[in-house]
Symmetry: C2
C-alpha cells in the first residue's frame, strides 16, 4: 500500500507527459479535411489544391511598370473544403496595385503550391509537390449581386479576419474567371485538364483524419 502511494506522483507525471506528447504532435500536424486525391485524377488534384490553400499569388499586368507581370500575395477562397466551387474569389482593395491593374486589364493568373498544405516531401519545385496556375480574367463583382454574396460567404468563412477589415479601404469582391489550367502534380510535364473538367470535378473523397 505504501509503495503504491509513493508511486502515484510518478505515474501521474508519466501520463501527463504522455498526453502532452500526443497533444504536441497533433498541433504540429496540419489537419487535412480532405486527403490528397489520386494523382491520375487531374481535376480532383487541381480542385484539392484550390480548396486546401488559403493564399496564393495573383498576377496582373502592371499599370505602374509598363505592363510588366506583377505577382502579389493574396488570400482567396473558393468556399469551405468540400463545399467549394473551384472558382477563386478575392477581397481586394484599390489601394493595392492588383485591383487597379485588373480594372485596366482583366488578364490575370493565380498560382498556388502544395507546399503550404504540408503534404510535400520534396523540394517545392519537385514535380511530386503539386503546383497549379489558373489563368483567366480577374473580374470585379457588383456589390450586392448574388455572386458577390457567394464570394463574401466563401471568403469570410475561410478568412474570418476579413469581416473586420476597414470598410473605408475600398475593398471589393473579385473572381477569377478561368480560361486555362496549368497543373503539375507528378513527373512528365503539365497535365491535360480542361476548365470544364475542373469545374465539374466529382466530389473529392473525404478523409477527415490527421495526416
Amino acid at each position: 500500500m505504501e509503495l503504491q502511494v509513493r508511486l502515484l506522483p510518478t505515474i501521474f507525471f508519466f501520463f501527463f507527459f504522455f498526453f502532452l506528447t500526443i497533444l504536441q504532435h497533433s498541433s504540429s500536424a496540419r489537419v487535412l479535411t480532405v486527403s490528397k486525391p489520386d494523382r491520375h485524377d487531374y481535376a480532383a488534384s487541381a480542385r484539392w489544391l484550390v480548396s486546401q490553400n488559403i493564399w496564393g499569388v495573383l498576377s496582373t499586368l502592371s499599370i505602374d511598370h509598363d505592363g510588366a507581370p506583377f505577382g502579389n500575395v493574396v488570400s482567396f477562397s473558393d468556399g469551405l473544403p468540400e463545399k467549394g466551387s473551384g472558382i477563386p474569389y478575392f477581397y481586394l482593395t484599390t489601394l493595392d496595385p492588383t485591383a487597379r491593374n485588373a480594372l485596366k486589364d482583366q488578364r490575370a493568373s493565380l498560382a498556388i503550391s502544395e507546399s503550404p498544405v504540408g503534404t510535400c516531401k520534396s523540394d517545392p519545385m519537385n514535380p511530386t509537390c503539386s503546383k497549379l496556375t489558373l489563368t483567366g480574367k480577374l473580374l470585379l463583382l457588383d456589390d450586392g449581386s448574388e455572386e458577390a454574396q457567394v464570394a463574401k460567404k466563401a471568403l469570410f468563412t475561410k478568412h474570418p479576419e476579413m469581416i473586420d477589415w476597414p470598410v473605408d479601404h475600398d475593398f471589393h469582391f473579385f473572381k477569377l474567371e478561368i480560361t486555362n489550367i496549368f497543373l503539375i502534380n507528378w513527373f512528365g510535364g503539365a497535365k491535360p485538364i480542361t476548365v470544364d473538367e475542373y469545374l465539374h470535378a466529382k466530389s473529392i473523397k473525404v478523409a477527415s483524419l490527421l495526416q
Copy 2:
C-alpha cells in the same frame, strides 16, 4: 533497495517521454537562422524575406496565352542566410513555360510571403504578415560564367535535391535583375525602398535560437 529497483522502469519512461516532448516541440517549430528585423528597416525586412524563403511565384508574360501574366511556383535562392546577396537565382528548364516566356520577353516579377516562414500570426493578407514583390528582368546566365557559378552555389546549397535533377532536361541558371521593389510589412501601404538600399542592406542581426 527493492523499491528502487521497481521504480526504475517508471523513472525511465518518465524521462523518455519528457525528452520526447521537448524533441517534438523543437521539430514542430521552424528553425530561424536570422530573426525578423525591425519593421522600420525596410531593406533588412525585404532581404530577410528573400533569405528565409525557399520558393515563390515567378511571373512572366505568357507566349502561350497572348501575353497574359503567368505566375509559376518556383524554388529560388539568393544564397544561404547571412551569406545571401539579395539577388534571386533560379534553376529553370525550358520544358517549363516560365523560362520560355523569359527568353522571349525578360519582364518578370518574384512574389514571396512571410507565411511559409512561420512567423505570421494573422491572415496572409493582413499587412503585418509581410509580402514582397521584386519586379525586373529574368536573365539567362551564360553556362560557365562566374555568375552562373554563384547561382549554382546559392541554389544547390539551399536546394540540395537540385544536384540530382536530370541533366538532359535543359536546366539553366537565371537571375532576376531587380528594377522595382514592392514591400508590405505593416499597415500604411507599400514601403518606400530603392533597389540600391535593398542590395546594400546592412547585415541582418543574428539570432540563431529557435523561435
